[in-house]
């Protein structure tokens, strides 16, 4: 079994440095007493280190048997997760141990402790248990558990690392399943009409007075009289195919921490996917920077909510820029039938020729709808007027650029909805209503 090296601690180095310093003093005076003291320190430290080196010569992961239990694998942001590790010493040794289960920086420890310094007796066992609260969304790794065998006086140590990492997915505060459930119930309430439109369906919607343009076959003869003729209006059973396209390029970092453009987009996408699944519509997800980062095909069924939640949770900010033209091509390639593409992006970067890219999507019969956060709303106002003016001045070029990009996309024929940061969910619901209305609602 391979073993780690014994490494001198700062405490051990301090012993050696101190002894070396006073040994020089001894050499200057040539006094026996003053030579004996540093020599004693050297011999003592060397004896301790040799003893520790021998006692822990095969120290490593093989010394331990471990078991993780009560692991949380999916935790909502600001929720509470738990972790426990049982460690058993399988060799007949005893040592001073420091045990550390490395949690990510984004996790606050609420109760218990991910580390422990203790005397570990022969064949003894140790249990670490703690509760944590993630402060950021994404995919995180807990562990590995690191065990440090300390020399009894802290002069040196050996390190062993166990291969027991554990992945935790931190989901947004609202999951697709929760959005789906909430919107399913809202369909039964006042918002029902919002989700439907008149059309060639079979379900009765309303009556309206006859118009020469109406189909005579739809006249409600029993409700009509000679002076006033009514026509039956039916519910159109629309089930659009929707591809949610999320920009995860580097410019999506714009915004205040925790409410960056990317986080707002993920929140909006969660609601939109939930709305689609609530209506049993087919929905897919494409996450794009300058390449496909994640993809779920447009075949989502109401039972696939957890898959979308996990995919949305795993989106991370890419260090690369968002390439609008490549994203449009990738989306078009993945759609077999005419669909609606909902792009969540702040469009901080838009290449020349983006208009042509919009055309490549629209030509096969797809629709493109852009949901973009209001730039002015991404940053909270400063309390100090001067600071507000300075930061406003610094941000002005970016704001102008984004506005210009949004105008270009609009002119290319794609509707653009700019939403305030605090109303992203409402904007997503409204956008879905627009998709159902076929674009005539705006």
């Amino acid at each position: 079994m391979s073993s780690s090296r014994v490494v001198l601690s700062p405490w051990g180095w301090s012993w050696i440095a101190g002894a070396a310093g006073v040994f020089l003093l001894g050499l200057l005076t040539l006094n026996l007493v003053l030579l004996v003291v540093p020599t004693a320190a050297f011999v003592f430290v060397a004896a301790e280190l040799i003893a520790f080196d021998r006692a822990t010569r095969d120290f490593g992961a093989g010394w331990f048997r471990w078991q993780r239990s009560e692991n949380s694998s999916q935790v909502p942001i600001d929720g509470i997760g738990s972790m426990a590790i049982d460690l058993e010493l399988v060799v007949p040794r005893a040592f001073y141990a420091e045990i550390f289960d490395a949690p990510p920086d984004a996790f606050d420890i609420l109760d218990g402790a991910p580390k422990l310094r203790t005397w570990w007796p022969r064949a003894g066992s140790v249990r670490l248990a703690y509760l944590f609260r993630p402060r950021a969304r994404g995919e995180f790794r807990l562990g590995p558990t690191v065990i440090v065998a300390h020399q009894p006086l802290g002069l040196a140590s050996r390190v062993a690392e166990l291969g027991n990492r554990w992945e935790v997915t931190v989901t947004p505060s609202l999951t697709v399943e929760e959005a789906q459930a909430a919107l399913s119930s809202s369909r039964r309430d006042a918002g029902e009409a919002f989700w439907r439109r008149s059309g060639p369906g079979t379900e009765f919607r309303a009556l309206h007075e006859y118009d020469p343009m109406d189909d005579v076959r739809r006249i409600a003869w029993r409700r009509s009289a000679v002076e006033r003729i009514y026509v039956v209006e039916h519910e159109e059973e629309v089930h659009p195919d929707v591809l949610v396209l999320v920009d995860c390029g580097r410019d999506m970092r714009l915004g205040r921490p925790g409410s960056e453009s990317l986080e707002l987009s993920i929140d909006g996408a969660t609601v939109l996917v939930g709305a689609a699944l609530a209506r049993s519509d087919r929905v897919g997800l494409l996450v794009f920077s300058d390449r496909v980062e994640a993809y779920l095909p447009v075949e989502g069924t109401p039972e696939t909510g957890p898959e979308f939640t996990e995919a949305l949770a795993r989106i991370h900010l890419s260090p690369r820029p968002f390439r609008f033209d490549a994203a449009m091509r990738a989306a078009a390639e993945r759609l077999a039938s005419p669909s609606t593409i909902v792009l969540f992006s702040n469009l901080a970067e838009l290449p020349t020729g983006a208009e042509a890219s919009v055309a490549t999507v629209r030509d096969p019969g797809h629709r493109l709808l852009v949901l973009s956060p209001d730039f002015a709303d991404l940053y909270p106002p400063h309390l100090h007027r001067l600071a507000e003016e300075v930061f406003g001045f610094l941000r002005e070029p970016t704001r102008r650029e984004i506005d210009a990009h949004l105008d270009r996309v609009r002119e290319a024929g794609a509707p653009v909805a700019v939403y305030p940061a605090s109303e992203v969910r409402a904007a997503a619901v409204e956008a879905y209503g627009e998709i159902l209305a076929g674009g005539d609602r705006r």
Binding site: W15, V36, A41, E307
Partner: protein, 330 residues
């Protein structure tokens, strides 16, 4: 008695012996010398025993003691200061301030070892100057004390220069030739006290000694705020309730005891070598210490974080509760 008091008891005899030999040689008319000594001694003992803990207060007293010395050097200094008597008294008490340095909790072993060595060095220095005191006829003043200890330094420097330029130790080296057997024994006791401040595995509850890593940082380990436990599963509550707590090691023999015995044996061998093989002693000692330093650096220095094992080594299993996460999307 606390552990700290025991350590102090082992440390003070050596400097007390040296101071005692001088104090009896001074003129009884010069009251400033014992006053200066008493002030420094009291301050050193108070800090060593942990009675004076405030950093500001320690600095304040040290500055005050230094100012008293400066004032004695000024023309027109008060007569009760007895010329340089007060300064001489403080110089005699200075080793006790050094002892306090060994027991300050924030100091590293390097500083503690240096403080111990400085204390013993002052003892050796004063003892080297003692022949001047005993040879002096009549009462000894502060001015004469400073003259004697300065002369020792000058002679040592001259002797070292002569030894290096002449190639032989024919010159007089006051520090090297001063070897009071009582002081040697007391210095060994002080060394034991200094090392025991690092060795003892247990700390006094009222005034913990500064031993290394096992000064458990409970506040750090128990970090976290109280969380309402109503929302937790039974399993989560159970593991939290049964998690391990820090355990302070307890044993009849403290850690480092065996090494202390090895060190003791080595020092005896060293002294025997110094007595019976004086020609080769210094050369052999220097060579041995240099080899030891190089060996320790080569063998035990290295990057932290090198674990030797591959991360997948070891045996274990993962039991997730609730069920394991769904498969990742393609």
């Amino acid at each position: 008695m606390t552990d700290r008091a025991w350590v102090v008891l082992l440390l003070i005899p050596a400097p007390l012996y040296v101071a005692g030999r001088f104090l009896f040689g001074f003129s009884p008319d010069t009251a400033a010398i014992p006053v200066g000594f008493a002030a420094t001694f009291a301050f050193g003992m108070a800090t060593a025993l942990g009675l004076v803990r405030s950093r500001g207060l320690v600095w304040g007293i040290e500055v005050a003691l230094l100012l008293a010395v400066v004032v004695t050097l000024l023309p027109g200094a008060p007569a009760w200061m007895g010329g340089l008597g007060l300064a001489a008294g403080e110089m005699l008490g200075a080793p006790f301030v050094g002892l306090a340095g060994i027991l300050r909790s924030r100091y590293s072993p390097a500083i503690r070892l240096g403080a111990l060595e400085a204390t013993l060095f002052l003892g050796v220095w004063y003892l080297a100057a003692l022949p001047s005191v005993t040879a002096h006829r009549g009462p000894f003043t502060g001015l004469e004390f400073f003259g004697a200890i300065s002369q020792v330094l000058v002679l040592q420097a001259q002797g070292l220069y002569a030894a290096f330029t002449g190639g032989a130790f024919t010159a007089v080296l006051p520090f090297a030739i001063t070897l009071d057997p009582v002081f040697v024994g007391l210095a060994a006791v002080a060394l034991l006290g200094g090392m025991s401040s690092t060795l003892s595995p247990r700390t006094a509850l009222d005034e913990p000694l500064p031993w290394g890593w096992h000064a458990l940082r409970r506040a750090e380990l128990e970090a976290g705020t109280a969380v309402p436990r109503e929302g937790l599963r039974e399993g989560q509550k159970a593991v939290l309730a049964t998690r391990s707590r820090p355990v302070t090691p307890e044993s009849a023999i403290p850690p480092g005891f065996a090494s202390l015995l090895v060190t003791g044996a080595s020092i005896v061998a060293l002294l025997l070598g110094a007595i019976y093989l004086p020609m080769y002693f210094l050369f052999g000692l220097t060579l041995g210490v240099a080899a030891l330093i190089v060996g320790m650096i080569v063998r035990w220095s290295g990057r932290r974080g090198s674990t030797g094992d591959t991360p997948s080594a070891g045996s274990g299993e993962v039991r997730s509760d609730p069920p394991a996460p769904p498969a990742r999307p393609a």
